[in-house]
């Protein structure tokens, strides 16, 4: 089984994880301030689309990243203001946002570029892969980090940054408080609405990066609904990680490697309909394992009745 793990595979798994990881990070940020973000799928799609548009228009990948960030932040305004100032239900808003993202990107794709489905053009500049000769030869580290885009590096650095900010800084303490009990935070003079709005928007910028990685990092192409469920996996990772950036990252890694493993299984002749299910089953198992211990801690009214 270990011979499945080849440098290429690890490398490509890390690459495939990046958008999910970025989105999951954004999800934990939102979760920490008490906004359950189920719109990651749609935000990622908007980011992917804007990244391609930006890269195409400016002729630089950086332009693409900037466009992705801006567009996703703008898109996230709906969630940020929707759940705070307008006091809407997060689930409803997120479901609406996902649909809007899917419809709007498809619509704009047709109207802006006259194509439907897939948009690829040599003018779309993808992200460079960073090759560091020094680490290329090292086992494991080299496999993981050589030939990755800057966004993959950013993603893992952000995991560390978010963790430190969340648990070691005044800002993080406030965010955690806002998420745990908004009313209590309010009485301590913390402007809950503002913290939530800013956090959701910052998270939006991070999902924008996820979208840029998806469309510019791996392929330099936009295709309709190309987020293809990755945002949902990120939502699952957030819940599995209980809004903790490190655990959420761990969940992403678990899913990513289960996914890479499933492709390998396909190579062994198993039908893809069956192997496709592997990462989801692995995630479900992880979900069960992480929950069996906490079984009795839940609300007594739930476990009542024989």
């Amino acid at each position: 089984m270990l011979d499945f793990i080849t440098p290429f595979l690890v490398n490509s798994a890390v690459q495939a994880i990046t958008p999910i990881l970025l989105a999951a990070l954004a999800g934990t940020l939102c979760g920490r301030v008490g906004v359950f973000n189920m719109a990651l799928e749609g935000q990622m799609l908007v980011g992917a689309f804007a990244a391609v548009v930006g890269s195409y228009a400016t002729g630089s990948a950086l332009g693409g990243i900037a466009a992705a960030t801006l567009a996703t932040v703008a898109f996230s305004l709906i969630l940020a203001y929707g759940v705070t100032v307008f006091r809407g239900d997060a689930v409803v808003i997120c479901v609406g946002m996902n649909l809007l993202a899917s419809g709007l990107t498809a619509y704009l794709l047709r109207q802006m570029f006259g194509v439907s489905g897939t948009f690829s053009d040599p003018a779309i500049v993808g992200l460079e892969k960073i090759r560091i000769a020094a680490i290329n030869g090292w086992p494991v580290i080299g496999w993981i980090f050589s030939r990755q885009t800057a966004l993959t590096w950013v993603a893992w650095i952000l995991v560390a940054v978010v963790t430190v900010v969340m648990f070691r800084t005044p800002l993080g303490l406030r965010l955690r408080g806002v998420g745990e009990d908004a009313e209590a935070a309010e009485t301590m003079g913390v402007d809950v609405t503002r913290y939530r709005i800013v956090t959701v928007l910052v998270a939006g910028a991070i999902v924008g990066l996820a979208g840029a990685q998806l469309s510019l990092g791996t392929v330099s192409i936009f295709s309709e609904d190309m987020s293809a469920g990755r945002g949902w996996i990120a939502v699952v990772a957030v819940m599995l990680g209980r809004n903790h950036p490190l655990y959420a990252a761990l969940a992403c890694v678990l899913f990513g490697f289960a996914d890479a493993f499933s492709v390998r299984l396909q190579g062994q002749g198993l039908p893809n309909q069956v192997t496709d299910v592997v990462p989801y089953v692995v995630t479900l198992v992880a979900l069960v394992l992480t929950h069996t211990k906490r079984r009795r801690r839940q609300d007594p009214t739930i476990t009542a009745s024989p």
């Binding site: 800084t169 745990e180 009485t187 476990t303 009542a304």
Partner: protein, 513 residues
């Protein structure tokens, strides 16, 4: 008279003509309040009189529709609590505003964290919190997680929060509602200490003896208006009540001696475990007979809640038996308990006892909705539901426009009446009443107490859990004291004293004897 500097008495805090409306309802109607430096000032009034509203305006949580606030003679305007905190306001809410997953020190410094190089300076924070705690004799370990603390300690954390911000004026909204007599006395010590330190205390409560003990002056609200200002030393409880309610209220519970009948609730060797396997209720046995009121006294967090949940079927006991009216209901769910004869007034009316967004009719049906007259063969009788609700609203004097309206905006006392009405109407053989008068005004307390006694006299078995010793002493025929999950002692109500019970509640059996 000796010559000295002429002191114009500038009030520490003054509110002038405060008006706050919620739609058509005027919660505060041109309220004037003057509080002097270093005094303990009581704000009293019935449920819904506007006390909490006024306090949240003074603390910047809400903006008044009209009126102004002056601090030491200077006009201030608060956009948020932050502004009020900056002016030296501090507030301890009745429902604690604490983050249960965070430690004491994190709760205290929240929003005003000491930092170094952008990171929280944990050591400085703990040190500072420890210092303040020591200075005001608030025994708290700064490093423990708040979720694991008892109610009394949590309250100290709340006070610490205000002191950490160097609050000059401290608002305490019903601070003693959940304290034992000893804890309450400890709190009063702290309050005296603070006042001596030159700090000002605004004290919201429904308890007259506390007002008489600790406060210097009293302002009474009724229907959002100030109806009376009094100096505590020159008034009496009777006068305050008259000011609050506009009538005389009988504070003494009238009841004849009990004539207990057959056992209705029998719990035998009941053990309830926590998640990590600790016993929360430890081999508790008790019997409640028809026609008697059994009180359970104890400091919150000593297993009363879990015991009641196990008795009501909300929680599975680990070991032991429970029977209601002869029926074994140990492993059964709530519905089986209700069928066997349980009526149950839960501790928390807003979270457990009602659904805010549901109509009064729906709220008043819950628990009895499966059986005639409300339902037949799985079908709900909407007309019966409405008729029953209207009858209860009338009989219990619930202040609500119609049975079709949601109960979400009722005041605490009225909401409690909804719960009491529902649980008493069906004449169940067993009534469990948990903190039935918490946060309820004197008028309503009188009413609820007399209803409980009426239940007993009708022959029902009543199990009363209350943190309010005076309530237990007034109502119960027998008193059980719970300590660390065990039923530590049974005391005859006729001979019990507050002091002895207080010692038992603290687990000091020898001294109490």
């Amino acid at each position: 008279m000796t010559a000295g500097p002429v002191v114009t008495p500038v009030a520490e805090l003054e509110a002038r003509g405060i008006v706050k409306r919620y739609g058509p309802l005027v919660a505060n109607d041109r309220v004037d309040l003057v509080v002097a430096r270093g005094e303990v000032h009581a704000v009293m009034g019935e449920n819904g009189a506007g006390k909490s509203t006024l306090m949240s305006i003074l603390y910047g949580l809400q903006q008044p529709d009209a009126g102004e606030i002056l601090m030491r003679g200077r006009r201030v305007e608060y956009r948020s609590a932050l502004d009020a905190i900056a002016e030296g306001m501090g507030m301890v809410h009745q429902a604690f505003k604490l983050f249960n997953s965070l430690t004491v020190w994190e709760n205290v410094v929240y929003g005003m964290e000491p930092s170094r190089h952008g990171l929280i300076d944990r050591r400085a924070a703990i040190e500072r919190v420890g210092e303040i705690a020591a200075r005001y004799r608030l025994a708290v370990d700064p490093t423990v997680v708040v979720g694991s603390l008892s109610v009394g300690v949590r309250q100290r954390v709340e006070i610490l929060k205000a002191l950490y911000r160097d609050a000059q004026i401290l608002i305490l909204d019903e601070p003693t509602a959940v304290l034992t007599p000893q804890e309450r006395d400890g709190l009063f010590d702290v309050i005296r200490h603070l006042a001596a330190d030159g700090r000002t205390i605004l004290f919201v409560t429904h308890k007259l003896h506390e007002v008489m003990t600790i406060t210097d002056r009293v302002t009474v609200l009724r229907d959002g208006r100030v109806v009376e200002r009094m100096v505590t030393a020159e008034t009496s409880p009777r006068e305050i009540i008259r000011a609050m309610t506009g009538r005389a209220v009988n504070l003494k519970v009238e009841k004849a001696p009990a004539s207990p009948g057959a056992p209705v609730l029998v719990a035998d060797d009941l053990t309830v475990l926590s998640d990590d396997g600790r016993p929360l209720v430890d081999r508790a046995s008790l019997t409640v007979r028809g026609g008697e009121i059994v009180g359970i006294a104890g400091v919150a967090g000593n297993g009363q809640t879990e015991l009641i949940e196990a008795l009501a079927g909300l929680r599975q006991p680990f070991r032991g038996r429970v029977s209601i009216a002869g029926q074994d209901v140990t492993a059964a769910g709530v519905d089986a308990h209700r069928v066997a004869g349980l009526a149950y007034i839960p501790e928390d009316r807003a979270v457990t006892g009602t659904a805010r967004a549901a109509s009064a009719a729906d709220n008043l049906a819950m628990g009895f909705h499966r059986h005639p007259p409300l339902a037949r063969g799985g079908l709900l009788d909407g007309r019966a539901l409405a008729a029953e609700a209207r009858a209860m609203i009338a009989r219990f004097g619930i202040k609500i426009g119609s049975e079709k309206l949601a109960v979400g905006t009722l005041s605490g006392g009225n909401l409690q009446k909804v719960v009491v009405a529902r649980e008493l109407t069906h004449r169940a053989p067993l009534l469990i009443a948990e903190q039935p008068t918490r946060g309820v005004d004197v008028g309503a307390i009188e009413f609820i107490h007399s209803e409980l006694v009426a239940e007993r006299d009708r022959g029902a078995a009543v199990l009363l859990v209350s943190a309010e010793l005076s309530e237990i002493l007034a109502l119960a025929d027998r008193i059980l004291v719970m300590y660390e999950g065990r039923i530590l002692a049974e005391v005859d109500a006729a001979t019990a004293t507050e002091e002895a019970l207080g010692l038992l509640m603290a687990g000091r059996v020898q001294e109490a004897a």
